[in-house]
Symmetry: C2
Subunit: 231 residues, 2 copies
């Protein structure tokens, strides 16, 4: 039990449920065993930070269970959510290579199980394991492409269109579950004011696109969303 109230349980890489979808997926048993030795795992409560903007990275986080928001803060401290990570994702590896401090913060959105791999160990693996390295490079590249689209959406789409787009992304992130975010977080993902977001959610509900179960959202007409988002 640490000061941050994380209870350290052991999560075994060989049997980790996230492994099949993770970047570590294609590594041979040998390497997985190696990761297993080097990592430390922890249970995180809701709304706990993994790292914050402008600090220097000590390693990467492997999200075993739960959701984590990745966000930047604007000049007035308002959060802009860049990405919502789900189980299986590696978080914070960008700053391993850039030589810069973090440009974003990461914080849990719900209870999470997260493993930590130190910078040295991680970079060693990247250096020696070409498969893992290529996976990481592929991921960096994909995200870079996604962000070009994100920027274009922010610049050219209306809030309504962006909300549709955001809900489609969140539909994938939350998969079979219902989307479970505060209105404020959702607004900070879409890039709008909370009040505006609430009004639009109501519209979407009245148009039969979503159902609202207090704070949880259920998509009931994905086609309409796709059409609205302009795809």
């Amino acid at each position: 039990m640490t000061m941050l109230d994380k209870s350290h349980k052991h999560v075994n890489c060989q049997t980790c449920g996230a492994r099949k979808t993770s970047l570590f997926a294609n590594n041979c048993e040998n390497d997985v065993a190696l990761v297993d030795e080097q990592k430390s795992c922890a249970f995180y409560k809701k709304n706990q930070p993994l790292f914050i903007e402008n600090s220097f990275p000590r390693g990467v986080f492997c999200l075993n269970q739960g959701k984590v928001k990745i966000f930047a803060r604007g000049d007035e401290g308002k959060e802009q959510i860049i990405h919502i990570a789900k189980e299986g994702e590696i978080i914070g590896f960008r700053a391993m290579f850039s030589g810069e401090p973090y440009k974003v913060s990461a914080s849990t959105l719900e209870e999470c199980n997260i493993c930590f791999i130190g910078k040295e160990d991680f970079l060693n693996m990247i250096e020696t394991n070409a498969t893992l390295r290529n996976g990481i490079m592929k991921e960096l590249s994909k995200e870079l492409g996604d962000r070009a689209i994100f920027i274009t959406n922010m610049a050219q789409k209306s809030v309504r269109e962006r909300l549709a787009f955001a809900l489609l992304i969140l539909g994938d992130v939350y998969d079979k579950e219902e989307i479970n975010l505060t209105r404020e977080d959702l607004a900070n993902f879409v890039g709008t004011a909370t009040e505006t977001l609430i009004r639009l959610l109501k519209d979407f509900k009245e148009e039969g696109i979503i159902e609202i179960h207090t704070r949880k959202l259920e998509i009931i007409n994905k086609d309409k969303l796709l059409h609205l988002a302009g795809k």
Copy 2:
């Protein structure tokens, strides 16, 4: 002389002016000689495309001289400029690793000298030359961080603030030269309507922040811009 009107001159890597600032900078003479063999160089006129969105990459471009805009198109075909590359930059390497088609287009903003290195050759070098590879990974990572900030700016800053921010970036890109972009391109970089941009430029001029020499812009009060951009 090709159909695309590029006259093929030989540009020598060993003596290339861009080399000192390029990712290829730290490579030993051996590797530079290798690049020299594998590349083909061409002269590009203004407004020629290097590649377009959704097509598949055949290699990377090394910008020897000139400026190139990297942009995505929104649903209505409007360009959103993501980045303006200057001499020394390698263009289009993201798509080498992602396995996806290009998510952005690239087009010259002025007369350019550009070398091309085929995918096979490039990936070979990445695989065998750790220094180059690390440089590329660093670059991917830096850009990813920059884009998080870009997204946040688009979401939270006013057009006026974004213009200030854009001019600061362009001040670096154009270095000692004056900023030389059409109003439309500048608007598409800031993410606003051309008319709005023109009005704001006038304001900036009246406030003694910039000088307008027909289409070229000169920054005369960088401190004010820094303050306006919120840094």
